[in-house]
Amino acid sequence: MQIEFTLNGRLIYEETRDDETLFHLLRRKGCYSVKCGCETENCGLCTVLVNGVSRLSCSYLAARADGCDIVTLEGIQKEAEEFGSFLSAEGAEQCGFCSPGLIMNVLAMEKELDSYEEEKVKEYLAGNLCRCSGYMGQLRAVNKYLSRGENRNEC
């Protein structure tokens, strides 16, 4: 079937199998940042933004993407670099395989929440698994990133 959607700001027309997943389609289109870590929706590696909301592309039908605005890390390189610099300043990106999914969800969280208490942040990001870092470095990075505006104001 034919679908039409916005991918990282570009309108595209695509031929897709009726039962193709968004994950599969995105990687076909060269969005290699989107990773797959499981088959059961537990890991969060495949997180993308669909109309601004963080979703698991592994269980999102490509057919449903018709008319939607899809964003992957490829489309927000500047923001990725910005948060990424906090992550790498802790050494917390480690193998990097979970990083894109985490970054997508952090950016979604930043927009959705109006306050960033540690428990709220941890709970929001609970669906992003990481096996390398033990999560503490990611949390340090997220806390510093979320309070970056305050620090700038102090200067």
Binding site: D18, V53, L125
Partner: protein, 258 residues
Amino acid sequence: MIRFKNYVRAESLEEAYNLNQKKSSVIGAGMMWLKVQNRIKMTLVDLSGLGLDGIEETDEEFVIGAMCTLRQLEIHKGLDGYFPGLFKECTRSIIGVQFRNGATVGGSIFGRFGFSDILTCMLALDTYVEFYKGGIIPLEEFCSQKFNRDILVSIRIKKDGRRAYYASSRMTKTDFPLIACCVSAADDTYYVSVGARPARAELAVISRKEEADVKKLAALAAERFRYGTNFRGSAEYRKHLTEVYVKRLFMALNQEEG
């Protein structure tokens, strides 16, 4: 992932219903459960174009569209205002926000899964399910029915003054529950719903007058359910957890009263 030949975005409930009568059709709601299955079907009937994703609040009830996501349920101000903390508590342990942005209330309820926190919670409230052809029936009645090919349109929770608390036990914070308990109270009646036994939630209605001691009353309530053993836990432990959790939920309800 479920595989199918034809994707149809239903444009009306009638269309969705008709397409779904074929055994080779399957309803696509959140897709979260279909993702972990390897079935092969002919047609997937997508309900996302039918406007069933709203939560409406009236003086009498909440009407939750079947396509509302668990995340919507989690953060809805009206629901939280009437049942403080309840829907937050019964959703926040479900895998993660991205998952809850996809999973639907309708999918949880229609599936009547053993592990469903949502079903366990709603069974303790005055809840009804609305089917396209079958009309509105109490949730408890639906729970004991066989699988049907009707379309679930909404879930309705009456504002009957019940107060409710939810608690679950899990091995990791976002795992399936080892046991799930929801207790609501209206006057002298407790509605005790226990799920993930590992079987699906069932309801026991118990009067406060049956026993003054809260621990013994909880034990009486726990007696009313059957428990099973799987690799997450034994039947005996599940029963013990139920006794403890139900007791604590009774105490929380009593404390609230003052």
